[in-house]
């Protein structure tokens, strides 16, 4: 409806100069934006940015077991090679769990794309459909305030081909973390399972997850005691 002439006339009488309304608001907004841009640092954008970095986290790694296929395998050499394989794969699993559970810039914004780079293409398709089991979940940002890693372990079995080259590694994972909900309660996150990794032909990235079997067994828990460590210790 178009205002009638009388109404327009009466509003003219009470009008505050527009500049007086706009200028302070814009100045405040620009000031705050500049302040944040300066504080944002490396990963902190202005909009939706500013998440703290993920807490430091490393799995505790048990000694790797070599599984030979050659009848006359040099078991000492294969054991050393299995340890090297474990050394190569551990950062991949560290990153996988950091990206899936610990990095606030992922779980606060339902952005788990980095998680799936650890998987070979066929396995990645299924992994993406299992987001709620393999990550903190799409709604984690609405539910949780913080997530702190707990004591988490990896153990390896490495299958060697008859020439003594590593072919397939099975990583058994127990990952634990404590998530504080926004309502002040705590959830123990437990992810347990196995990942099969192989070196996929034609991919330079090295080891990729080709199969997996992972369970989530989360349960209610109490607040961590003040003296408790907030991150797992790396192995020696």
């Amino acid at each position: 409806m178009t205002p009638n002439r009388v109404q327009r006339g009466s509003s003219k009488k009470r009008r505050v100069p527009l500049a007086l309304l706009i200028v302070p608001v814009v100045l405040v907004a620009i000031g705050v934006a500049i302040l944040l841009a300066l504080r944002g640092g490396e990963g902190g954008g202005i909009i939706g940015g500013g998440d703290e970095p993920p807490p430091p986290f490393d799995f505790i790694v048990k000694p790797a077991t070599a599984v030979p296929t050659a009848p006359d395998a040099d078991e000492a050499a294969l054991s050393a090679s299995a340890e090297r394989v474990a050394h190569e794969i551990t950062p991949i699993i560290d990153d996988l769990y950091t990206n899936a559970y610990l990095d606030p810039s992922n779980w606060r914004h339902d952005d788990y794309e980095e998680v799936f780079t650890a998987f070979a293409p066929d396995a990645a398709a299924t992994a993406e459909q299992s987001l709620e089991t393999l990550t903190l979940g799409a709604t984690a940002g609405d539910v949780f305030d913080t997530v702190d890693p707990g004591r988490s372990k990896l153990s390896y079995q490495v299958l060697f081909d008859p020439d003594g080259e590593p072919d397939t590694a099975v990583v058994s994972v127990i990952f634990r973390a404590t998530a504080e909900r926004k309502n002040g309660t705590y959830l123990a996150i437990v992810s347990e399972g196995e990942f099969f990794l192989g070196q996929i032909d034609g991919q330079e990235e090295g080891w990729k997850i080709t199969a997996f079997d992972v369970k989530r067994e989360d349960h209610e828990t109490h607040p961590p005691s003040p003296s408790a460590s907030t991150s797992a210790s790396p192995s020696a």
């Binding site: 409806m1 178009t2 527009l18 706009i22 608001v25 814009v26 405040v28 907004a29 705050v32 934006a33 302040l35 944040l36 504080r39 202005i46 909009i47 939706g48 940015g49 500013g50 599984v67 030979p68 296929t69 050659a70 009848p71 396995a123 299924t126 299992s130 709620e132 089991t133 979940g137 709604t139 984690a140 609405d142 539910v143 949780f144 305030d145 079995q157 299958l159 008859p162 072919d167 397939t168 099975v170 058994s172 909900r181 926004k182 309502n183 002040g184 309660t185 959830l187 399972g193 196995e194 099969f196 199969a211 997996f212 079997d213 992972v214 369970k215 989530r216 989360d218 349960h219 209610e220």
Partner: protein, 322 residues
């Protein structure tokens, strides 16, 4: 739809933009307040799994050969005491096992008519494959072979096989002494179970079926162990490669093992080509029932599976009480 004056719209727009920028900025710096109505996280146990089973529609045929080589003999240059076609339908996660009696009197390419078990002696596993392919018109994709000692070791590597022994056995020649029922057989006993023919009414036919029974037991056990601890697959695959001789590459062994974990062992048809015995030139041989052989072979060629209608009676039927 209401219409605001242009200057007021501009002011409102600027205010909204400013509020958005400021709000986003403040939201990023201050912790969110406690939301008393925040949804609780789902606590149902969750499970995610991806097993790279083969899923093609083309059946896979693996010829499994048991050489009668003793520990100090080469497995390739002896006779084939057991010959089985393992047929897998990956898409349907099903399989069939067909035993070929070792004394089957057949045409061996380049050799002539003879017992099929001599094909291994004359031309190694490749000639056994050619002979079976000629007999059945099925193209074998792979072959795998073990001897006595390697079979025993394979079973011991996986801590024995849990087998439902279908009837009592008491055979001095093979040292097969078993009560009926489910039991874990170590390598030595599994070999005895596989070799026993003297106290079976159908002799080698019944033995061939029992050898298939061991394969079904292995399939069931692989699946069970894999479901409990997936890393066990490495032990099975490694043992197979270490103790067997095969055209399967390690990755193919793993592919088949993954596929095997999806197969329902209870639905695997385990049959033996039926036939009768005859004497040929002083040799006691098996003459295969050609009609049944053709039926089974054609059925397998279709999709790798055996229909109930084409399943011949068990050679151990008199002992099975059925």
């Amino acid at each position: 739809m209401s219409v605001l004056p242009a200057r007021r719209r501009a002011a409102l727009l600027v205010a909204l933009v400013a509020a958005w920028v400021a709000g986003s900025a403040l939201g990023a710096t201050q912790p969110a307040g406690r939301a008393s109505a925040a949804p609780l996280f789902q606590l149902e146990p969750a499970h995610a799994e991806y097993v790279p089973v083969l899923d093609g529609t083309k059946p896979i045929y693996v010829l499994i050969i048991g050489s009668d080589a003793r520990p100090d003999q080469a497995v390739e240059s002896q006779r084939a005491d057991s010959i089985h076609i393992l047929s897998i339908n990956p898409a349907e996660h099903r399989a069939a096992i067909v035993g070929i009696p070792r004394d089957s009197y057949v045409e061996i390419p380049g050799v002539g008519q003879n017992k099929i078990n001599t094909a291994l002696f004359y031309g190694g596993p490749d000639l056994v494959v050619q002979t079976v392919e000629q007999l059945t018109d099925l193209k074998m994709d792979y072959w795998a072979m073990t001897g006595f000692a390697s079979f025993e070791q394979m079973v011991d590597d996986v801590d024995g096989l849990v087998v439902d022994v279908p009837f009592a056995m008491n055979d001095e020649a093979s040292r097969a002494f078993f009560d009926p029922g489910v039991q874990r057989l170590d390598g030595d006993n599994a070999l005895a179970f596989a070799r026993n023919r003297h106290d079976l009414p159908a002799g080698d036919f019944g033995r061939s079926e029992n050898q298939g029974r061991l394969m079904v037991a292995a399939l069931a056990q692989l699946k069970k162990e894999f479901n409990k601890d997936p890393a066990r697959m490495l032990i099975w695959a490694a043992s197979f490669v270490r103790n067997g001789t095969t055209t399967l590459a390690l990755d193919e062994v793993l592919d088949l093992a993954f596929t095997g974990t999806a197969v329902n062992a209870n639905k695997v048809e385990n049959v033996v080509f039926p036939g009768g015995t005859a004497m040929v030139g002083g040799l006691s041989v098996v003459t295969l029932n050609q009609e049944t052989l053709q039926k089974i072979s054609k059925d397998l060629a279709d999709d790798g599976l055996l229909r109930k209608a084409n399943v011949p009676p068990s050679p151990n039927e008199p002992l099975l009480g059925g």
